[in-house]
Point group: none
Chain length 208, copies 4
DNA sequence: CCCTAACCGAGACGGTACGTCGTGTCTTAGA
DNA sequence: TCTAAGACACGACGTACCGTCTCGGTTAGGG
């Protein structure tokens, strides 16, 4: 596996050399790496998961197959990297001073990302693959699901700090109660997730 | 091998003729059909989704590839049929007279089925595939998810009938609140689903 | 298309019954038999030897595959029968009283049949097949090549009778000398066989 | 097995590189190429034309099917190449100073090759196929039949040079008169071709 | 005057081979 | 040392025919 995943795409070069190069004794080609991740992303969105092949990525990226195999182990591995780079820009939920507002904003954005964006398509494909690839399942949990849960907790933590919620409030349970219906609708039932539906979820959690 | 081979698989016959035959103008061979579905099931459990191939099913079932292609369009199609047959035996939740007891029994059984049984493995594989196969997604919703939701609703409906719950109780929302965490843990977070966790879910729904 | 369709194909009935029927205890269906032979012929001409399949013949003849397998053993077997029926109408060379005239007429006709007619196409296909099917080779020699050689001999025998040739004339050698270049051009070199070329062959044989 | 394996098959290299390699950007694997041609030859002789399949060749040569399809279009194409390599060793007829002797030697050898050798079996199979494959027919004429005719002409040309034959002698016609009965017997009538029969052919041509 | 044997069409079946696609490994030449 | 290029062995794909096997329908002839 590569370690590069934690850095934002293209921002931080791996190669010491400041000069552009195409892969030589100074290290790998950043150009190739970027082209591969972009090609993988695009192919997934354009042709679906089955349409992503190592050969296809190589051709689309103008890269030799071997270059892909040198750095990744499978197409899911490539997609995982692409997804991690996409998610690297994910920011903390807003902190407006009002829990309900913050939650709504955060959850609507998350739902939209999962259900509609290209990044969400990659996530769904990876989660699907993870159902029969336990190593990928672990990576996915470590690199996305757990960090995401931390982000999901943030508004509650701020509310506790502010005194808006009691310190005894079970934030873990609250997050699960809010989040799982969203994943359920995205992954299982396919039902749409409207802002008013999200409001309902929040109201049920907080007022009842 | 799975244990299911010992169970009578033939619950839902597709062939009208009551006579056993080996495939002729009257229709397909029930023998071949059953062997294919069982082989598909077994291969999925033994070798995982990627290990299921049409050639493998054909070989394991002692059947010609063409016989599979004559009746199904893809390996997912075969698995879908196998899953539907497995689920055909699913029965309504119990009706003991006490909502909490019924729910607990039902949900614990469902969680166990989804997370641990062979049938659950097939379901997870199909749901995974459905993430990038919208036709399959529709079939899966029509043939499993919606009927399942009706079964999930049953204890609440009985409780309303009995007067244990007010007629205004939002059963749909309640089902979603109970079920989605279970699917979330099975599909996304991989956390275990203990009976006491299920109890907690029910308590939070009913008492709060 | 074959020319035979206009001619009565049914010359040699296999069924004793004078009544038309569709196959029953009294024997096979003449209708089916004829349709099969015609379909085989047509397919050969239209789609080439590889385009002739038992399934294709059955479909084109509106007949069940089994009906073909009941009476023939292979597609070559069917074609052989079709060819034999086509050749059944072959008549003796003319006997005008002049050897050269008779030979020329006979050979030009034979060359045209072999190289250009549908029947010739069937013959070439069968001879090709006979190169790796010795049983067929024997049938072809017995049912066509030897009878044909007798017809080829006929003009010489008449010439000897008439006194135009001496009784010592080696008719066998003469036939081989005339015929083999024709087969060579048809089968091997693909060169055209013009009437003047045939005349040259005859002149070289008789005058030199 | 054939006896040909003892002969050096590699007469006509297709790969410019003098270095042995196993297939890379410099071109194809000579090893694979040779194994395929030998396997094709052997299968033809052992199992007949119908017994030659691409899958069979690949298995016998220890090669992937795709490697065959990369370089050839069909099994006939492979056999054609195998035949061409076999024939590459064909040498000019002898030039002893006596036409009759040279002809007899040449024709007896040719007849034996066509009728009895493994190479002849390949030739007959190809000629058979060429009856319904005009592209193959052209290749066969260009690569074997015409060069062969030039070799057949050679003894006559030498005899003319020597003054043994008049310059007006029609060598083309003579070759056709000698060769076509040989092909006729090999391909059509199946009669044996004894040395004395060949002598008779020559005598009839030259003395009459 | 039905019974029944022989033939028919239809078409499902277990197979074999087809020709194609993608995999992951390897080797080479060039920068 | 990394890259592009691409040949290779492998394995699965989905298709086309093979030859075999019922099955139900029909049509006389013999009982």
């Amino acid at each position: 596996m590569t370690t590069k995943s934690s850095k934002p795409r293209r921002a931080a070069k791996k190669v010491p050399s400041p000069v552009e190069h195409r892969g030589n004794r100074h290290g790998r080609s950043e150009e190739a790496r970027t082209a591969i991740l972009e090609a993988a992303d695009n192919l997934l969105v354009e042709r679906g998961f089955a349409g992503v092949t190592i050969e296809g990525i190589a051709a689309a990226a103008g890269v030799a197959k071997q270059t892909i195999y040198r750095w990744w182990t499978s197409k899911t591995d490539v997609l995982m990297d692409a997804f991690v780079e996409d998610m690297a820009q994910a920011s903390l939920p807003p902190d407006s001073g009002n829990l309900e507002t913050d939650l709504k904003h955060h959850l609507v954005g998350l739902a939209k990302m999962l259900a509609e964006s290209d990044t969400g398509a990659v996530f769904r494909a990876l989660l699907a693959e993870a159902q029969h690839d336990s190593e990928l399942a672990i990576r996915l949990r470590t690199q996305f699901i757990e960090p995401q849960r931390l982000r999901d907790l943030f508004p509650f933590q701020q509310a506790v700090k502010r005194g808006e919620l009691s310190p005894e409030f079970d934030t873990e349970a609250a997050v699960e109660q809010l989040l799982s219906p969203i994943y359920y609708r995205v992954l299982v039932s396919g039902q749409p997730i409207s802002p008013s539906y999200v409001e309902g979820l929040i109201r049920r959690l907080l007022l009842k």
